[in-house]
Symmetry: none
Subunit: 250 residues, 2 copies
DNA sequence: CCAACCTCTGAGGGATCTCTGAGCCGACGC
DNA sequence: GCGTCGGCTCAGAGATCCCTCAGAGGTTGG
């Protein structure tokens, strides 16, 4: 019988692993150290091995040493631009996945070139849920998903989410959700039966530069309830003074 | 009043240890020496090895020497801010868990991203039970729990508490509890068959700045009895002149 | 340029929680 | 027996937490 070391995330979920069972390796390249720190924290939380770099030169060194499966790459770097780094990266490791971080006003045609190569991008300011989800998608499509259960769909009770199709259904009936509602529900569904505080939700679902109050979370929970729980047995529960839980109906 | 420091390991319950069986190591960073002392007393009471530091520089030195598994870190430090310390800590020891202490009014300020990495925070004024519980949660998720049976749930007789789902059930039936009731019961359940004085309970379950009387403890014990013991064989017993005990029904 | 949609702010109101005060009861000592 | 003390419970005030509505401002797509 084949026994491999069980690789789990800090959250207790089974981690997405490389074909040989070792953790996925990701290189984070951003010149803002705070942002790099937050990103690498979120990725380590997924059970992945992370290394950071602050500029293009460091990125290449890091890539040679870590030999990452994926790279999170800021387009704006102090020494070079992201596309030059991309070319060098592909020389070092041709099959690496790249997730670009771009400013909102980055030129369109350059982005078109990215997605054509199978890579992906997110625009700043982004939410951590989105970055993690995109990375998971890239890795999965690159054949990195060793999990049978780690498909593109999440199921909690009779609630089903297809991440790729961005489609949610409860008891077979399609539920239409706005982008924020979708991300909030995804976060809840990836952490079922666990109480999530409003701060946790804010940190994870809202952009890192969101300055607003935790009140928005209440508001969006109320939207979700109207759409997901409407008339049915409620799955979204409030835990007063603590946060919210998503629980399948028993 | 504040609980006095105790250096003994709590008897009757196996301490949470590192994978190699040595005690968990925690660094406490706060510029208020009284608070640091109270905290380290509570953590030593858990059987953990504790060291304190008063500012960011001392925190780094301490981290390098102690190589802690977790750090309790005040966001407001005389020399640096929490984010910078977090980054340095992760450089010293990438897998360290951090529990931030923040004032209530700075909550919205810059917590963003902190809980995203799997780290956590509590707002001042906090209760020691809460700090210890959060730390235990962090350590458990980081794979530090060499627990024999130290899972996310505590069991005493037919009474079961799931800390992550914040759910309590007696004989299979869900019991709804308010935040304070929950913390009080958690404290009782973590110390079964042991008489706990009202002063002990106050020091541990209520915030350190609570100025009220021990009468509240009686009141909350009475609430708990109504919900937990309701109609069943009582598990919560009064020891006149000494305190309360939680005992499984024989 | 307009319409539809999305996101967020602010305010109101309702439900729940916490704690105080007071009365009651039983245990214990004299 | 009787008073005292410790503990239990009820009732209610005040605070807090949470939900919802209404609408402003921004974005998107036609």
């Amino acid at each position: 019988m084949l026994v491999s070391a069980m690789n789990t995330t800090r959250s207790g979920r089974p981690a997405l692993t490389r074909p040989d069972g070792t953790p996925v390796r990701v290189l984070v390249v951003d010149d803002d150290p705070d942002l790099a720190e937050v990103l690498s924290g979120a990725l380590r939380y997924e059970g992945w091995e992370v290394r950071t770099a602050g500029d293009g030169a460091a990125a290449l060194t890091g890539a040679r040493e870590l030999r990452p499966d994926a790279v999170v790459l800021d387009v704006m770097l102090p020494d070079t631009d992201g596309f030059a780094v991309l070319r060098s990266l592909h020389e070092v490791k041709p099959d690496v996945c790249v997730l670009f971080l771009t400013a909102r006003d980055t030129v369109e045609d350059r982005i078109a070139g990215i997605t054509a190569g199978g890579d992906d991008y997110v625009t700043k300011p982004f939410s951590l849920e989105e970055v993690v989800a995109r990375l998971r998608g890239l890795l999965r499509r690159a054949g990195m998903a060793r999990q049978a259960e780690e498909g593109p769909r999440i199921t909690v009770g009779d609630l089903v989410m297809d991440e790729e199709a961005r489609e949610v259904s409860r008891a077979g009936r399609i539920v239409e959700l706005s982008p924020t509602e979708f991300e909030l529900l995804r976060f809840l569904m990836r952490n079922p039966r666990r109480v999530l505080s409003k701060a946790q939700i804010l940190d994870r679902v809202w952009s890192y530069d969101f300055g607003g109050q935790a009140h928005v979370v209440e508001l969006y929970i109320s939207y979700l309830r109207k759409k997901v729980d409407a008339g049915r047995q409620p799955m979204i529960h409030t835990v007063r003074g603590a946060g919210y839980v998503l629980k399948p109906v028993l």
